[in-house]
Symmetry: none
Amino acid sequence: MKLSDKVIAAIKKDISSGRLKKGTKIPAEPELMEVYQVGRSTIREAIKTLSIAGILKVQQGSGTFVASKVKDESLTQRLRRAEFEEVNTVRAVLENEMVRLACENRKAADLDRMMELLEQRQKAITANQQKKCADADIAFHISIAKASGNQVLADLYENFSLVLLDFFSKREQSIEHFQRSQPAHEGLAAAIAKQDDKSAEQYLKSILHHNY
Amino acid sequence: MKLSDKVIAAIKKDISSGRLKKGTKIPAEPELMEVYQVGRSTIREAIKTLSIAGILKVQQGSGTFVASKVKDESLTQRLRRAEFEEVNTVRAVLENEMVRLACENRKAADLDRMMELLEQRQKAITANQQKKCADADIAFHISIAKASGNQVLADLYENFSLVLLDFFSKREQSIEHFQRSQPAHEGLAAAIAKQDDKSAEQYLKSILHHNY
DNA sequence: TTTAATTTAAACATCTGATGTATGGATGGT
DNA sequence: ACCATCCATACATCAGATGTTTAAATTAAA
């Protein structure tokens, strides 16, 4: 087995695992040399083969890019699971506190804002607009953070929401997923309105678990 | 107000909000022109100012990079109202999870780092150096965040620590305060080392309450 | 209205880093 | 010894980034 074949397999694996997505630029040859601990000729041999196969596309002066997907579903799920757990853990910690405080301190204006965003979420679902859906979803949770009355917590969550947005975009969340969790979101809003912290906690739990 | 000042504010905001992290390359001038809808001179004027201020660092032929972190204005502003309660609430939420996870996942290297920072904290106390003391204190808690094994949580806490630093400086924490809480910090580190989450929780409670 | 500062636009230089190409040497199996 | 493989180096070529200069258009102030 030639060395370049090992590199080919490694690059293919990186593509199928999701570390290298379609359209993304792969590392430059010098960097690949360090990563795979081989000479430049070997790297170029591998790239040439993958390029002929249509998997990669090279552009002189610019770089080499992934031209096609090589999907391995089970593997991508497993590899993203670690990062996924981390994000969800942090999210759960923040949202639990947010919801608890929101039940105590929510004002009428907060409830209006929450309902408004829930409507936007539903509209985006029926219109099959995924990005708007994710935006509305996160905006809704931010509105809960603000309703908590703790501005520091709200600012921190707003910062964290950037991570969530990036996270959603990577996961390719289906509209169906948002559809399924819509009732839980409405229940959560209602519980906060009624200041029923026990019920709110249950709905939140449901929302967070729907992510699995 | 000059147009370039608006661009400066926008870039600063992007940095403080975390959209642009330290060390990352900011978009090239042509792209910034599109994003902010201004000419190249304006972009360059803004970049020049931020570069002189040490916030950005330009490298010809390569790009412009973020050189330093910027404190989140909205967060520091809240502190002026002396709403320490809010800060402590958020801190408690984050640290509780951090400590819980650190007890499970701490590696030997994490424990070494923690002990090293505790020594620095003690040295700063005996040397009566308040700033170094606060730095070591926060660095210690950051090391716990990293020991949790949750990179997302660690990043979030590191961002939040900027608020804590400001918090300490405004409160004029005395050296005596740090001295009093040193045993609790050492106890916390020992508990994490022994993976005794119950004990760790108690020490953390003590540390957080010492802030009042 | 005139004047000056600001902003824009374009052209070109320069630097960095990417791939393309060529060559020689080291290595290991046949 | 032969030969395919691999490594190392140098240089060419291309793309894209910032640096610089200049002129025109726009805006604000005198």
